[in-house]
Symmetry: C2
Subunit: 312 residues, 2 copies
């Protein structure tokens, strides 16, 4: 695992996504208007590995202390635009099946008219993560990056159903797609994940990672399948942000090591799973706030023991 300090610009990651307020209730408690959003989880997670450049928009109600917290982690917030109006808000509930979020309210506010313009210094970022936003916005950000080395994106059923053509145009320009199991099936129109993976890879991306919540993650890459389990936690307090925290650890490790081989992609998925396993131990970003690199290394080794067996 590399260290953020001294990360060179060819290890940088650009992320575009949401910075938001989340109100979440789970069987274990609740959080009101806590810091959340895909870009927040992603950049916090990736900041343990390398330098991150954030592109997002917030309203005038967004407190400076949150921005200071992000920049305090070494996250470049030059691309975080503050505009008049209210910050994006999401309100959700999880029941005992923590794999399934029930959205109670979504206030997109001005987020729908978000037209991201990259700061000049961001335009040569080698690693790009397009979090789950309108695929047309994802394309517009990608258009502004000069020759990115590795581009990954997330998406969701809302865009699969609403903007399938834009999504397919995006996928032609993406190296890696990270997507939920149910969404992979829906997007491909196939119940078999092996078939679904082949169909989605046919749209362009060389690598597909399917997130399966408490069942872990699967990667399809160059004819190989890799399976990483989820960490067996006693309790999952709040699954909000797990997918973006996973992607942050994954991209963070890839950027920090500059190694895009299949072997290193496997390790990157395990680092992603490690980061997600910590994130769900508490509400909002509470657990990542206190996390140390030593804890990350230890849990990585525990993941090794979790799946290791010797051949005869």
């Amino acid at each position: 695992m590399s260290h953020q300090t001294g990360a060179s610009t060819n290890m940088s990651i650009l992320v575009v996504g949401s910075v938001a307020f989340d109100s979440v209730s789970t069987p274990f408690g609740k959080a009101d208007e806590a810091l959340g959003g895909s870009a927040t989880y992603f950049s916090t997670s990736a900041s343990f590995f390398t330098e991150v450049r954030l592109v997002a928009v917030v309203g005038s109600d967004f407190p400076d202390e949150h921005i200071k917290k992000l920049s305090g982690r070494g996250i470049d917030v030059a691309g975080l635009k503050k505009v008049p109006g209210k910050t994006f808000r999401w309100k959700g509930r999880y029941d005992y099946d923590l794999n399934c979020a029930h959205t109670l309210e979504t206030h997109l506010n001005f987020f729908s008219s978000f037209d991201p313009v990259l700061p000049e210094a961001y335009k040569e970022t080698p690693f790009v993560f397009l979090a789950n936003i309108d695929p047309e916005l994802q394309i517009s950000v990608l258009d502004q990056v000069k020759k990115p080395r590795f581009v990954a994106c997330d998406t969701m059923n809302f865009w699969i159903e609403g903007k399938p053509d834009a999504l397919k145009r995006l996928l032609q320009r993406v190296d890696l797609v990270v997507i939920n199991e149910a969404e992979a099936r829906e997007f491909a129109g196939a119940s078999s994940l092996v078939k679904a993976a082949r169909i989605i890879q046919g749209y362009g991306p060389k690598t597909l990672i399917i997130k399966r919540g408490e069942y872990g993650a699967m990667m399809f890459h160059e004819g190989e399948v890799f399976h990483a389990p989820a960490y067996p936690l006693e309790e999952i307090f709040d699954p909000t942000g797990a997918g973006d925290t996973f992607a942050g650890g994954l991209m963070g490790h890839l950027a920090a090591t500059q190694d895009l081989s299949g072997h290193n992609l496997r390790r990157a998925i395990v680092f992603g799973s490690v980061m997600a396993s910590f994130n769900v131990e508490a509400f909002s970003l509470e657990r990542l706030d206190t996390l140390t690199k030593k804890e990350i290394r230890l849990r990585f080794s525990e993941f090794k023991r979790l799946t290791h067996f010797e051949e005869m």
Copy 2:
């Protein structure tokens, strides 16, 4: 992997369970009155590894060719009792969610009054598998075995709800429980699998294996957790018997190697997963009928590649 030929009696496995006719429909086709039953799947699967002794009951309508088929695999059928009446029948349907069987009809027939008496030669069998039948029958079989070395059992929601006390009495005498994920949660009254495992282990068994269908299997053993994925198949034609085929490969490997260490339990789970992955490729026992030891070894290696990653 050891070979069945020349297996000594201290490598033998006794299995008690059902030998039945299954009528199954899935999105891929259907089978009518095909050979099935937990003891059939288990013993066929285990017969690739070691000697198996079968305890079950069938009706006078049960064709001799089925019995010849089992004994042709080296399975000892001295404990397969034929009585007047009709053989146990199960009729089920799987929709696209192949993790969930919909039972359409169950004809227990005389199976409910089954009172197994072990042939004398069976009473010193070192490995015992009590497939999913009435826990009182499981206890009655176990009572007849002298000092078994390793005892494993399966069970289901029907007995968890109907005979919890008998089940708990059984568990005090069992080394390993193999149980479905939903049933583990129901039995323990806990949604967290880590908690559920601790509660069930508290009833007696040192080792617990939780079957998660297409998500693989988890083992809880001496404070460690091991996770084995399912094999990523293009299509699952018929999941009937997957759990018993899994248990057959698992117990077969343990008995053949005579090694009950945690390391070997991990390998045994992978052999179980290998056997189950073949079984679901076709209806009834069709795939196991043509399976070779070479195919088993090859898929075992594929499972290794499926989860392998190198530490930094």
